[in-house]
Amino acid sequence: MKEFIEHLYNELEFLEGLPFIIPFIIGSFILAFIIINFIAVFAGVCTYIERKVAARIQARVGPYMVGPHGILQWLADALKLLFKEDTVPEKADKLLFKLAPFIVFAGSFACWVALPLAPAFSPARLNIGILYIIAFGSSVILGILMAGWASSSKWALFGAMRSAAQIVSYEVPTGLTILAMLLITGTLDMHNTIAQINLDGTISGGQSQGLPFPLNYFSTNADNFSAGMFSWYIFRYPPFTFIAFIIIYICALAETNRVPFDIPEAESELVSGYHTEYSGMRFSFFFLSEYANMFVFSAIITTLFLGGWLPPFNITGSLLAPACGIILYMLVKGKTTDPANRFIAFCTGAGIGIFLGVLSGDKNYWFADYLGIQSLRFIEGLFWFFTKSFGLVILMMWLRWTIPRYRVDQLMELCWKKLTPLAFINLFCIGILEWLYK
C-alpha cells in the first residue's frame, strides 16, 4: 500500500510540495472505504449464494422473486435491515449493548489490513502479519461476550458463553497448526510468505530449501521451469501439510461459529444465540462480521497453504487441465449419473492436466508474463487470491447444509482430545522434516 502511494506520489506532478503524509492518509482512508464497502457487498452476495446453495442441496429453488433468479434478493434484505426499527431491550445495559456490534465488526475488519491481496499489494505490509491477524481475530470474543451480557437475556448469555469457550478452545489447534506452517515459511510477514516462493518450488530466504521429492527432476527443462501449484506450502511435506490444512479448516469453521459448530446460535436450543436481542442495523453488523471473518480465515488458509495470489498452473498446464478434465468427465459420464462422481472425475482430470503441465517444464507462470504486460500481474494475482478464498468460503456453505450440528461436549472433545494432540504430532513431524531437508 505504502509503496503504491509512494509511486503515485512520485508520478503525479500536482502533488509536488505537499508533504507525503497527506496523500498517504487520504489513500489509506480511500482503501479503508473500499474494503468496508467490499465487506458489505461481499456479505450481501454471500447471503444470496448461501441461500441458493442451501436450496440446491435441499432440492428447492431458493430466492426467486427479486430480479432474475432472485439475484437482487440481497439488496432487498439489506434495505429491509436498514429500515427496521432498532430495538434495545428495556433491561439491557444500554451502553454495552450499543457498543458490542461495533467491537465485533472492528475486530474482524482490522484483520483485513494485513491480508496480502495481490503481488506487491497488501493494505499494510506488517512485519508481524499473521500474529497481528490472530491477535485481532481473538478480540472478537470480547464483543460477543459484551453482546451476550448486555442483552440481559439468558439465551444471549448462553450463546455468548458457548461462543467464547468455543473460540478460545479452538485457538489452540489453530495456533499450533499455524506454528507448524511458520516452521516452513520462516516468516510472520503475510506478504513475504508468498513473495518468497520461487517458480521452481524452492523458497528464497526462508527455511525450506527444496521439496523432499523435487519435481524438477522429472521435468524436461529443469533449469527454468515452474512448479505451478506444487510450489504451494500445502504440497511441501505431504501428508503432514494436508493434515495441517484439514485441522485449520475445521478450526476455521469452529472459530467463525459455522455449522457443524454453530452451537452458540443453535436455533433449536438458544433462539439465535448472542444476537437474539439485536435487530436492524446492529444485527447486520454481526452478520457482516461473520462473513468478513469467514473470508479472513479463508484468506489466511489461502496464504499459508494455497499459495496466495500465485496462479495454480503454468501456461501448458492451463491448457491441459481443462482438456484432461473434460476427457475424464466424458469417460465417466456414461457410467454414472451421480453429479458428485462426475465432478470428482473432472477435478481428477484437471489435476492430471496440471501435473502434466508441470512435467512439461514450461517456464511461463503468469498470463501477464506470457502476454508481456507486467502490470496485469496485479489483476491476475487479485483474481487468484479471491478465487481461492472464495472457493473456501463456498466450501464452508456446502458443509453447512450437509453436516448436522455437533453437541457442546462433542465439540470440546473434538478440540481437546483429537485436534490438539493431532496438531502437536503434526508440528513435531513437520519440524523433523524441516530439520532433515533444510
Binding site: P19, I21, I22, I25, D93, L95, L96, I103, L126, N127, I128, L131, Y132, I134, A135, F136, S138, S139, I141, L142, L145, M146, W149, L157, M161, A164, V168, E171, L188
Partner: protein
Amino acid sequence: MSLNEILLNIIFYALALTGLFSSFMVATSTNMVRTAFSLLGVLFSFAGLYGLLRADFLFAAQILVYVGGILVLIIFAIMLTHKIANVNLSNESTSSSTVIAVVCILFAVLVFIALTLPEYIKINQRNKPLTEMIGNNLLSDSLLPFEILSVLLLACLIGAVYLARKEVKE
C-alpha cells in the same frame, strides 16, 4: 515540528487519553462487568502505545495475551459469579484518605522518574524489526531463563488442573 511529528503527537495523546479515561472507569465503576470491559480500553491503548514505539511484537503480544486471553478469563470469572451486577460491598474497612495518600505518593514517584530521565525516548528512531531479535535472543542468550519460565508455567498449569479436578469416588 514536521507534519509527521504532529500526527504522531495527536495519536499519542489520543491513546494516552483513552488509556487514562478507561483506567479511571476501571477504578471508579461500581458495575463489575463494565469495569472488566473498561479494561479493554486500557489494554488496547497500551498496545497502541507499543505500536507507536515500533515495538511490533509487544503490540501483537499485548493484544493476543491480554485481550484475547486474560481479559476473556476475567470476564468469564465475573460472569460465573452470582449476581455480579449489583454486588454488596462487604469490606469497606479501608478508608479513602489512605488510598488517596498512597496514590499521591505513587504519582509523585512517577513524576519524579519522568522528570529525571536523561532523555525522552525518541519515537521513530529504530527501524529494525523486533520480532526476529526477540526470537534469536530467547533461543540463544536467554535460553535458560526462557526454559525455566516455561517449566514454571507448565507446573502452574498442572497445579491448576489438579486443584480444579474433581476426584471421582467409587
